[in-house]
């Protein structure tokens, strides 16, 4: 029999022996007790081996996952929802790659004054029940909300949301630009507040972008969205854009414009007969630089251009031809001069 000449170490290495020690069954108990009856000389070795094996423990971590968290994860698994861990990897990649297919998404675009955000630093602050995330210029980040909805937060932008949503609604405050992919939940409206405008959806995707004049654009690719401002509301159909005019406080409907409304989500920078001041503001926000300009706006032409995931240098060089400028770059500071 194979065990007859076993030494102490041989027992330690034997699968059947270790299995018996760790997970004894009626059969293995029977086997080993009867074997020992016939080989009492092995008794001491076996007792020692068993003791060694059962003495091995691991130091358990100090931080445990409590049963509440365990139940929460269980529910999310039942709802077939993945965690946000895969986004951690995307955050490390360079920005500008197109992550989503627009086809199945609703895009809502809001605009408000960018000047407002220059004060923000890159930070994440969590106060009880309220989570605040913000980006400085030049940075885009990806955030998962407590309900599983995802947000791509643009540069110089900030969102606030509760660490867990209440029973009735999912309410988020936004300043700046953000793409939302809303987890479908017909019971709980997903509401984005942007200044005086609120956008309500029940499970779909949309983008929020804010511009200079505090106008708000809401552009819908597919699905259904309702926008409301100052007591007026408007339902949008796919390929429609609602514009909230901050001056008059009115809502107007128009067609969706991919370049204007959605391109930034894919890292595409588009200018449509843009004045130099707008060009500067958008480049500053996009790349996190400061740009000074010599002369007056009227000294420079208007820009029509589309930059698909291009570097800052590429764009500045393109501007020297199309706008007839010269530029001087000193670290993060850029001076634009007329040629």
């Amino acid at each position: 029999m194979k065990y007859d000449n076993f030494e102490f170490e041989d027992f330690l290495r034997d699968e059947q022996f270790v299995e018996w020690v760790l997970q004894p069954t009626e059969e293995s108990n029977y086997f080993w007790t009867s074997w020992l009856e016939h080989h009492p000389e092995h008794r001491e070795k076996i007792v020692l081996a068993k003791e060694y094996i059962l003495s091995i423990k691991i130091k358990e971590p100090e931080y445990k996952v409590d049963s509440k968290e365990k139940d929460k994860i269980f529910e999310q698994v039942l709802e077939n929802r993945k965690s946000d861990s895969h986004w951690r990897l995307f955050e490390k990649r360079e920005r500008g790659k197109a992550y989503y297919s627009i086809a199945a998404s609703i895009i809502v675009l809001l605009s408000l004054g960018i000047w407002y955000f220059s004060q923000f630093e890159e930070s994440t602050v969590t106060v009880p029940q309220l989570v605040v995330k913000s980006n400085p210029a030049g940075r885009t980040s990806r955030i998962f909300l407590p309900d599983g909805s995802e947000v791509k937060l643009g540069p110089r932008s900030r969102i606030e949301y509760p660490s867990s949503f209440n029973a009735e609604t999912r309410r988020i405050k936004l300043i700046g630009n953000a793409f939302f992919d809303v987890y479908k939940d017909p019971e709980k409206a997903f509401i984005v507040e942007t200044g005086k405008l609120t956008t309500s959806v029940f499970g779909t995707s949309f983008v929020v972008t804010m511009k200079e004049n505090q106008n708000v654009d809401v552009a819908l690719v597919s699905g259904k969205v309702r926008v409301e401002a100052n007591g007026h509301s408007m339902d949008l159909l796919p390929n429609q854009t609602a514009r909230y005019k901050s001056g008059s406080g009115k809502l107007e409907k128009s067609h969706l414009d991919y370049d204007r409304d959605i391109a930034w989500v894919h890292g595409i920078l588009v200018f449509q007969s843009a004045e130099i001041t707008e060009v500067i503001k958008r480049i500053e926000s996009w790349y996190g630089v400061t740009i000074e300009m010599e002369g007056r706006v009227s000294d420079y032409g208007k820009l029509n251009a589309r930059f698909d995931n291009k570097s800052l240098e590429y764009i500045l060089n393109a501007l020297t031809y199309s706008l007839n400028i010269k530029y001087e770059k000193n670290g993060k500071e850029i001076l634009i001069l007329k040629q």
């Binding site: 068993k50 003495s55 423990k57 691991i58 130091k59 358990e60 996952v65 994860i73 951690r88």
Partner: protein, 216 residues
């Protein structure tokens, strides 16, 4: 607290085993009506057929073990939770899962690979085992006692020390073999070794180096 008969000789020796340790092993749920337990294979097949009760049993039986296992690779508690969630979602979505007679092995292997994917990407391709297994800390317990035979405390602490100093791969192997109760074949699979024989050799080396240091 369970009593296990250890060895039946002229004198009956019993040991009070550490219930926590054995709860890792004796995970099969009791089927109260028939008094029988489901085997891992039966439970797994029920789960594959979409039996939510079976899933709930699997989740609740193995969740804590998975969390504890995750902690030997990373301090990132959120990452461990996320990977467990994603693993279960993947398993439930998968249409053609293979059968297994050890659900624990299946889940730990899946979790290790998920963790490895994230940890490697975020830390420039270091080997999970080499760098991260250092979080695995053995303790040689004093709770376990056999009549008339105890490891004396200085030998115990010496053994603990040595066990934490051996090569990471050997350490990981010891963990699977003596703590998780994996077979050599399972160890080979989870550590990506060529064969069960390689796992056996690795453990043999581990025991040898432990012995050398213990006696030296």
């Amino acid at each position: 607290m369970k009593l296990h008969y250890v060895i039946k000789t002229d004198k009956l020796i019993t040991a009070e085993t550490n219930p926590e340790k054995f709860s890792n092993k004796l995970h099969q749920p009791e089927n109260k009506e028939s008094g029988n337990r489901y085997s891992d294979l039966e439970l797994w097949q029920m789960f594959k057929k979409g039996h939510e009760g079976a899933f709930s049993i699997i989740y609740n039986n193995f969740f804590d073990i998975m969390v504890s296992y995750g902690h030997i690779f990373t301090h990132d508690r959120e990452l461990i939770k996320d990977c467990i969630q994603d693993l279960f979602v993947d398993l439930r979505r998968s249409k053609n899962l293979s059968d297994t007679d050890s659900i624990k092995f299946y889940l730990l292997k899946g979790l290790k690979w998920k963790l490895a994917k994230y940890i490697r990407k975020s830390q420039a391709y270091v080997s999970l085992a080499d760098k991260h297994i250092s979080l695995l800390k053995f303790e040689v317990s004093h709770e376990f006692r056999l009549i008339n035979h105890q490891l004396e405390s200085d030998r115990r602490s010496k053994l603990s020390k040595i066990m934490n100093e051996i090569a990471p791969r050997q350490k990981e192997c010891i963990y699977y073999f003596y703590y998780q109760g994996f077979s050599y074949k399972e160890i080979a699979a989870i550590m990506k070794l060529r064969s069960a024989k390689s796992a056996r050799n690795l453990l043999y080396k581990a025991i040898k180096s432990l012995k050398r240091q213990f006696e030296g």
